[in-house]
């Protein structure tokens, strides 16, 4: 998503959108969802009644004071809603840009008829040629095409999609750049990937996650405690002959209940999904993001994640008595028609173009699973290049000896994590080309980071155990599955889950689908098959296998932001008590002035400062709620110390300073 990526925190149009949304929200629901907000809404109305009843009521303080308290409380309510509205507005902006791509596109049916995209049903077949916008999600059943998916992924490089295999799915809204494909519709109207994405970012399909529910219970509990404190304070105060004004009661209640976190709770949740979306990961539910934060085991494919996709030739090993030039020539010629990255890397290593050797009537031998070798025939020369045992049987069949030292070279290369390719000319071994996996730069640090988070990394590879072990050690992963078949992944996930661990994996092929479904967090690549995308609970639009690491961090950040703001909100109450309790009683019991540690100007200004601080802090914390608390993988205990220090101690100290400052300002006016 190119536009939303640049979405800054407070864009003017977003703020406008948020404001209009806000007014709608305030009227519609008055925060019924969150108990503490509920209390707040009701009390604001109470305060309004109070202020209006002022003329009849006596001894409740001046009208101006009551009215100010009312206005501040009203703003507290607005700010709490504003947080949610701005989070939603950010989602909306993204949804709008998505919706543009979904606008009615014509679809050319199999029989040449042209219909609108909304009339396509599951199972229908349509045809797209170069320049067409793909009308809806589907699977290619015939042909191959380059497709521009930038509308969905923000990635401008076109991708190739073809019938059969793991790269057959196309997404509605993307554009065909070349060739012609026949596509079978895989989704009903309104359920396509784009529709789901729009619903998701608009918050329509947002459900409360288990952690969110537990936190709501905690906050509801705190709210009940404070209801109790305020209700019982009335008889207590009457008994002690210290009448308390109703405005003061309401202020006390609103200040004490965890309004800060209550108001920001849903904004945090929306922002979490939003962050995932900005990382170009579509989550099917908020719960998936949260679960990602709890992941214990990460299954990563070797190719593309740990190593750069392809093996590279790194060294030529000569057999005894072979001239290097001759060997290089054979190696280059045998790779002349080899389009695989391995073949290209051989040419690269040799530094010689195959065209520099004048040969006539070359006949290229393609690689087959049967011969397990490829090569070239010309004149009377037969050059073959292949796995050690394939070349050995070739040599031995024609009565030649497979040299011992080549045998040794092969074992050496294998135990170093490399792949040996033996080259022969006319059934005589010339030497060995060593292919090595190149481990991605910086991947070791990433695994180190994951280890500090307490996540075990597992490498999945089709290599033999020897090679797998070598690469696993070199990359720094904790475990590996060698010679992996799809069911091995599944079994590994089941085994870890049986021990109570949460497993995340990434996959793209149809044969990954069962494992994706079994994993607690399954990230499917957008280029993958429809089955894989259905099975996973997240879809990575960038097809970047290292994305899992980011997803885990987003999940952790989401939980941490909630925890930190809850701590901050509750710690704030300590200072508010010191502002409010002396203010409530000082009129009747002058000795309470000693408890007024902040030396607040007057009881009225103390109460006003506390409620104003309460309102402002919500506004100040909105950026934090939306951006999330920064996560550092420094181990759980160190993290707790750090966050306890910042948000616990900070939560106690900040309001002392804040309330005092506001009081100083207010005392100028009163």
């Amino acid at each position: 998503m190119s536009t939303p990526k640049n979405t800054s925190l407070f864009q003017p149009e977003l703020a406008k959108e948020a404001l209009s949304q806000l007014l709608l929200n305030s009227i519609q629901k008055l925060c019924f969802a969150i108990p503490s907000c509920f209390g707040m809404g009701r009390n604001t109305r109470n305060a309004l009644c109070r202020a209006l009843d002022f003329i009849r009521a006596t001894g409740q303080g001046s009208f101006a004071y009551n009215f100010t308290v009312f206005v501040v409380l009203f703003f507290t309510l607005l700010f709490a809603n504003f947080a949610e509205a701005i989070a939603e507005a950010r989602g909306k902006a993204q949804a709008d840009s998505l919706r543009k791509t979904r606008e009615e596109t014509p679809a050319k049916l199999d029989n040449g008829q042209i219909v609108s995209s909304s009339s396509l049903r599951k199972g229908d077949i349509f045809i797209c040629t170069a320049g067409d916008i793909i009308p809806t999600d589907g699977e290619i059943i015939e042909g191959l095409a380059t497709i521009d998916e930038s509308a969905i992924t923000g990635e401008s490089a076109p991708v190739i999609r073809e019938a059969g295999g793991d790269k057959s799915s196309v997404t509605g809204g993307t554009k065909v750049l070349s060739d012609k494909i026949k596509v079978a519709v895989t989704t009903q109207p309104g359920e396509s990937f784009l529709d789901k994405m729009i619903a998701l970012v608009e918050g329509a399909s947002r459900q409360k996650t288990p952690n969110e529910i537990a936190l709501t219970i905690l906050l509801a509990g705190f709210t009940l405690v404070f209801i109790l404190v305020c209700v019982t304070l009335k008889p207590f105060a009457d008994y002690a002959n210290t009448p308390i004004t109703i405005a003061a009661f309401i202020s006390l209640f609103v200040c004490l209940i965890p309004t800060t976190i209550g108001g920001l709770l849903s904004a945090i949740g929306i922002a979490g999904m939003d962050r995932a979306l900005r990382a170009n990961v579509i989550t099917k539910s908020g719960k998936a993001v949260e679960t990602a934060g709890d992941i214990d085991v990460l299954l990563l494919d070797k190719t593309g994640t740990i190593t750069i996709g392809n093996r590279k030739a790194t060294k030529f090993h000569l057999a005894q008595g072979v001239d290097e030039k001759q060997f290089v020539k054979s190696a280059v010629l045998s790779s002349a028609s080899d389009d695989t990255p391995e073949g290209k890397s051989i040419l690269e290593l040799a530094g010689i173009s195959p065209h520099s050797y004048p040969i006539e009537n070359p006949r290229f031998i393609k690689f087959t699973a049967e011969t397990r070798s490829s090569g070239i025939d010309f004149e009377n020369t037969r050059i073959r290049k292949g796995a050690g045992d394939a070349i050995r049987s070739l040599c031995e069949k024609s009565g030649n000896v497979f040299p011992k030292e080549v045998e040794e070279i092969i074992t050496n290369i294998s135990s170093n994590g490399g792949t040996p390719l033996v080259v022969s000319e006319n059934e005589k071994v010339l030497g060995v080309i060593e292919l090595q996996d190149i481990i991605k730069p910086g991947i070791q640090e990433r695994f180190e980071r994951l280890r500090k988070m307490g996540i075990k990394t597992v490498m999945v590879t089709g290599d033999n155990p020897l090679t797998a072990k070598y690469i696993a050690e070199k990359a720094g992963v904790d475990d590996f599955i060698a010679e992996a078949k799809p069911e091995d992944k599944m079994n590994y996930i089941r085994k870890e889950q049986a021990e109570g661990r949460l497993v995340a994996m990434m996959g793209d092929g149809t044969n990954d689908a069962p494992a994706l479904a079994q994993a607690d967090v399954g990230v499917a690549m957008n280029s993958g098959t429809q089955a894989a995308k259905e099975a996973g609970n997240m879809v990575d639009l960038d097809n970047d296998p290292t994305k899992l690491i980011e997803v885990v961090e987003i999940g952790k950040q989401l939980l941490m932001t909630r925890g930190a703001l809850t701590t901050f909100s509750i710690a704030n109450d300590v200072a508010k008590y010191f502002a409010l309790v002396p203010a409530l009683f000082v009129a009747s019991i002058p000795a309470f002035q000693t408890l007024n540690v902040m030396r607040l100007h007057s009881p009225e200004s103390a109460i006003l400062s506390a409620v104003i601080f309460n309102a402002i802090i919500i506004l100040l914390l909105i950026p934090l709620a939306l951006e999330g608390v920064s996560y550092k993988p420094i181990g759980a205990s160190a993290l707790l110390r750090r966050n306890l220090f910042i948000y616990g101690l900070g939560g106690i100290i900040a309001p002392f300073i804040g309330i005092k400052l506001i009081d100083l300002l207010i005392s100028i006016f009163i």
Partner: protein, 297 residues
């Protein structure tokens, strides 16, 4: 106290038990030491009358025990639910009275015989929940996830205590004809008497600010009800949580798991206890012992 170590022994986490024990002891000392000092320093009001208070605040105390030892026992008897007294709590200094109240309000610095671990268990659940969120993981205690149902029960138990204490006190204060008529000292101290009576019942303690003429149907019945709730809710709740946790899958620890046997987590528990007690009872304490304290000095 033995319960704490038995707990550590059975869950095979002696270090966790030790951490709990240290938290309890710190809480206990923070209450006991000020009381010893305040009682030993004597009462300024009596001093003003020209009476020598070098022995400490001796009103309501036995001469063979003395002020300091009496002050010490006021806390010992209120942190555990024995209720036995060797001096009149009603006559202790106002803030000593507050500490006695706090000891019963937190009700978890050691706690009662046989059930001592129950109340702190609830605070541990709450602390684990908040701390768990702060390190970015679904909260776990002893390898078990703390989720909505456990939180619900923990919150009900944590709420029950202030609810019955403040509720009872509010009723007694609101209807003087039943309740406050029995108060021997009107004013702030009288309020402390009511508060103490219900706190003592809720914490199943049994001691009292015995200036209160509480042998009337009102007091006997209302404190009886408070006592029943105060006794059984904190027993049923934690047992229910234990049952729920036992059913859950065990999650092995990893580097990302919050260690519950560290000093940091001990501090977290302590802060949760202090904040919950302070937040729920501060206004009531302000009108009782704290107001009385200010009127003395």
């Amino acid at each position: 106290m033995a319960m704490v170590f038995a707990f550590g022994f059975f869950i095979k986490r002696p270090k966790f038990a030790l951490m709990i024990y240290i938290v309890m002891t710190i809480g206990f000392l923070l209450l006991a030491i000020p009381n010893i000092i305040m009682e030993a320093n004597g009462n300024p009001a009596i001093e003003k009358m020209g009476i020598n208070t070098s022995l400490g605040a001796m009103e309501g105390k036995e001469i063979r025990i003395g002020a300091a030892a009496s002050g010490f026992w006021t806390i010992v008897t209120t942190v555990i639910s024995t209720g036995s007294v060797n001096s009149m709590h009603d006559s202790t200094m106002p803030l000593s009275g507050m500490n006695e109240l706090l000891a019963m309000m937190t009700n978890s610095f050691y706690g009662g015989v046989g059930v001592g671990i129950l109340n702190i268990f609830i605070y541990i659940i709450l602390a684990v929940f908040i701390a768990g969120l702060m390190v970015g993981r679904t909260p776990e205690l002893m390898g078990k996830k703390i989720e909505a149902r456990e939180m619900k029960i923990a919150m009900i138990v944590a709420l029950a205590h202030p609810f019955i204490i403040l509720g009872g006190t509010a009723l007694a204060a609101a209807f003087p004809s039943f309740g406050s008529a029995a108060i021997s000292n009107p004013g702030f101290h009288g309020f402390s008497q009511i508060l103490y009576e219900y706190t003592s019942s809720a914490a199943n303690n049994g001691s009292g600010f015995e200036g209160l003429g509480d042998n009337t149907p009102w007091w006997n019945i209302s404190t009886g009800i408070v006592l029943l709730f105060g006794r059984f809710i904190p027993i049923i709740g934690p047992v229910a949580i234990a049952g729920l946790l036992a059913q859950k899958k065990y999650i092995p620890e990893s580097a990302g798991t919050l260690k519950t046997d560290t000093a940091t987590f001990g501090l977290m528990i302590f802060v949760v206890i202090v904040i919950i007690a302070a937040l729920a009872f501060f206004p009531a304490l302000a009108l009782g012992p704290i107001a009385e304290h200010f009127s003395l000095y």
